[in-house]
């Protein structure tokens, strides 16, 4: 069986229970937020988070359909 690629591991086929503990130490409050490139749905426009936080405080929720 072929080895899973990083994309396949990340987008798991069967539910993998999340480990919540490492989150406590990850990106502590007061640290610089990572700037990431994302696509704005509906406009097919490439944006960076910093495009927004430079002007406004930013609330970001991560989620999916399921």
């Amino acid at each position: 069986m072929a080895e899973q690629t990083e994309i396949e591991k990340y987008n798991y086929r069967d539910f993998v229970s999340s480990d919540f503990l490492p989150f406590r130490a990850h990106l502590p409050v007061g640290s610089s937020a990572p700037d990431c490139q994302l696509i704005l749905l509906g406009k097919n426009q490439s944006v960076r988070l910093s495009d927004y936080w430079i002007k406004n405080d930013l609330v970001v929720e991560f989620g999916s359909l399921t």
Partner: protein
């Protein structure tokens, strides 16, 4: 995602007061027959559109790439929330969406703007930590798992030993029998 309606209320209240809100659409947490794991970016776009449609999402949606670059950078949890200020600093983070807490933080930042406008001296930035207890309506959970398909329910049962939408009382009863 079970927190769209309360987060939408916050979006409508605070967006006119200088806040931006986004949902970053990441990997499917509970892939099933109806909404499987992502294998292409086109599929990811289609499922994000379905999220927008089914949950009547008004908050703008940003798409992470297929590798999960943003998701990894922020901690990989399925329903985490961050509040980032205009200096690009993390001022709040939570491992699960809690609209009450987010509202409290938005109010803190509104107060900060007010203090700055009135030139109130600020000694330093303080840090507080707390545990919080997040309510979840089991009917909401059941709706989301059934939307994904029987596979998602079976996977959860295999991984956790109970149904995803069992309430704490049901879990306790099951343990006792």
């Amino acid at each position: 995602m079970g927190e769209v309606p309360p987060l939408t209320k916050l979006y409508e209240r605070y967006q006119p007061r200088g806040f931006e809100f986004f949902i970053v659409y990441v990997r499917e947490a509970h892939p099933g027959e109806n909404f499987p794991h992502h294998v292409s970016f086109e599929q990811k776009i289609a499922q994000a559109r379905k999220l927008q449609e089914l949950e009547r999402v008004k908050i703008p949606i940003l798409l992470d790439d297929l590798e999960g670059t943003a998701h990894r950078a922020y901690g990989l949890l399925p329903n985490m929330v961050y509040l980032i200020d205009r200096d690009g600093l993390v001022v709040y983070k939570s491992d699960w969406t809690d609209a009450h807490e987010i509202q409290g933080m938005c109010e803190s930042l509104v107060r900060l703007d007010d203090m700055n406008a009135r030139r109130v001296p600020i000694i330093r930035k303080g840090i507080s930590e707390r545990l919080h207890w997040i309510p979840m309506d089991p009917r909401d959970r059941e709706r989301i798992y059934r939307r994904s398909g029987e596979k998602a329910i079976r996977d959860y049962l295999n991984a956790k030993g109970h149904l995803p939408y069992a309430t704490d009382v049901e879990k306790l009863n099951r343990r006792q029998t």
